[in-house]
């Protein structure tokens, strides 16, 4: 079913070194990366949210299933949500077999993404270290390593000596208040250029005929036959969406709005096990490369990586108070600096350049909510919390399959909304609360 490049709806220029040189020398400008078509009044499917999840879903609908009459609607601009604010850590070293299989598939898709989407996503498979400072943490690392190996994901527990060899700048002595006892080492983990991933999916989906509509906010989900007011809620079915630019009729609406997921689901009368919390991150001035791997410390509530431009990118756990406001706080920077200096005393003279926050749709078990809801035609791909960027590719692939076949693929069965009714939670807190 997969479309080959020859079948593309319209032929955009390919990205390559030769094309860059040719256009550069002749002074040709590049055309717009995606079109800006008129909004129609009806589509086969409407995706709400133009982050990596919505765009990947639209792309795989077109590429794998030939469903191209699809609109992606975003109230702001593509990548304005978590997809443009995350710290871009990609890994598959989760705690549950379901999580390992799922994120492992995403890692595979990231590996071939540059070729599949014809864009340089700068995926740097540099290795990922989760430090243990307590016996309890070390025990969880051993557990994760075994589950990972069984799922075919490369992970192992290493000691302070080996850690020092991989990241010489870490203080592995017994001087700090929380000495490093060991680490879960995950060589295939790394970082990616998150904007390129978003633009890559948008561009590839556009080439296949999908429409992207920015500054198009979904104000209501139109339903009929449901038990609630306006025909919404259980037993009902989707008939369309109301936007700030008019009504659209469609039998399928896919909610990919992450931090705003509860609001869009409420429009269809569907309640979610989600609370929205901000997550902050910060970046320093660029310095010469010295940090070769991603380093996470659960006990110290911080993680750090160095971009290929040389900046250190820091993050932590979510802010404790639920809110839709993305204002940064000085408490965050202070705490962050204190903890980072415990790990790497050598960087005390570095200056922070920027600090920002994004919204995270937190679930009780730190696993996503994917697939069908009690409203026919209203699908969700939400609950991405602090860890959902890495899941964009596999989620798009799987959600497209849900739409095309009307069935839930095995890989995402454990993440169904119905698990909160049966009690079969997929507890990933131990692998996702600090390291995203």
């Amino acid at each position: 079913m997969a479309r080959s490049l020859g079948q593309l709806r319209h032929r955009p220029p390919r990205y390559s070194a030769a094309a860059l040189a040719w256009r550069g020398l002749r002074g040709h400008t590049w055309p717009r990366v995606w079109r800006d078509p008129e909004l129609k009044t009806s589509y086969d499917a409407v995706v709400v949210g133009g982050g990596v999840h919505g765009l990947a879903t639209a792309y795989y609908l077109a590429r794998n299933h030939d469903i191209t009459d699809v609109a992606v609607l975003d109230k702001a601009y593509l990548g304005s949500g978590g997809s443009g604010r995350n710290t871009a850590i990609i890994r598959a070293n989760y705690l549950t077999p379901a999580g390992v299989a799922f994120y492992g598939r995403s890692l595979q898709l990231y590996n071939s993404m540059a070729v599949d989407l014809n864009i340089n996503v700068m995926f740097s498979e540099r290795g990922h270290l989760t430090l243990a400072h307590t016996d309890g943490a070390l025990r969880t690392m051993r557990w994760r390593a075994e589950v990972n190996k069984l799922g075919g994901v490369d992970s192992s527990v290493i000691g302070p000596g080996e850690i020092k060899k991989i990241v010489p700048s870490l203080d592995t002595s017994d001087r700090p208040r929380y000495p490093i006892l060991g680490a879960l080492y995950h060589p295939p983990g790394g970082i990616v250029r998150h904007d390129a991933v978003v633009w890559g999916y948008a561009r590839a989906a556009d080439h296949l005929g999908v429409e992207m509509h920015q500054r198009t906010e979904v104000l209501d989900v139109l339903c009929s036959g449901g038990e609630g007011p306006g025909g919404k809620g259980a037993g009902g079915r989707v008939t369309g969406v109301r936007t700030n630019r008019g009504d659209i009729s469609t039998p399928v609406v896919i909610n990919c709005t992450a931090g705003w997921a509860s609001l869009v689901s409420a429009m269809a009368g569907v309640r979610l096990p989600i609370v929205t919390h901000p997550l902050q991150a910060a970046v320093t001035e660029p310095v010469k490369m010295f940090l070769p791997a991603v380093v996470v410390s659960g006990s110290l509530h911080v993680y750090v990586s160095q971009t290929s431009r040389g900046e250190l990118v820091f993050g932590a756990s979510v802010d404790p108070v639920a809110t839709y406001s993305v204002r940064g706080s000085s408490e965050f920077t202070e705490e962050l600096a204190g903890h980072v200096l415990q790990l790497m005393p050598g960087i005390s003279q570095m200056r922070l350049l920027r600090q920002w926050a994004g919204l995270c749709d937190m679930t009780p078990d730190y696993s996503p909510v994917m697939g069908f809801t009690p409203v026919e035609g209203f699908l969700v791909d939400v609950g991405w919390g602090t860890y959902g960027f890495k899941a964009g590719p596999v989620s798009g692939e799987q959600m497209a399959e849900v739409v095309a076949t009307g069935r839930t693929p095995e890989l995402i069965e454990p993440f169904a909304l119905s698990r909160f009714n049966t009690g079969n939670l997929v507890g990933e807190k131990g692998a996702a609360a600090v390291g995203h």
């Binding site: 979610l272 929205t276 639920a322 406001s325 009690g423």
Partner: protein, 90 residues
Amino acid sequence: MLLVPCPNCGPRNSADLRYGGESHARPDPATASPHEWRAYLYLRHNPAGWLRETWYCRSGCRRWFALERNTATNEFRDPPLPGDKRGGAA
């Protein structure tokens, strides 16, 4: 910094309190169906607007209380007086 108006201690930094989240009535464990119980445990309204929520003043009066906060702007409504069950008037 978020200043939380504790009804007993006055405004305090939110870091001095524990956030208890959305407050809603607990169903009677003796009669609730598993479905109702799980909905109470897991499902949340998570609105972008006024929300009634609970806080625990852990380094002050050590009491739980309910407040109304606008989750989009983080402003609080008049805090209720101690013992006041209304959760604050508009």
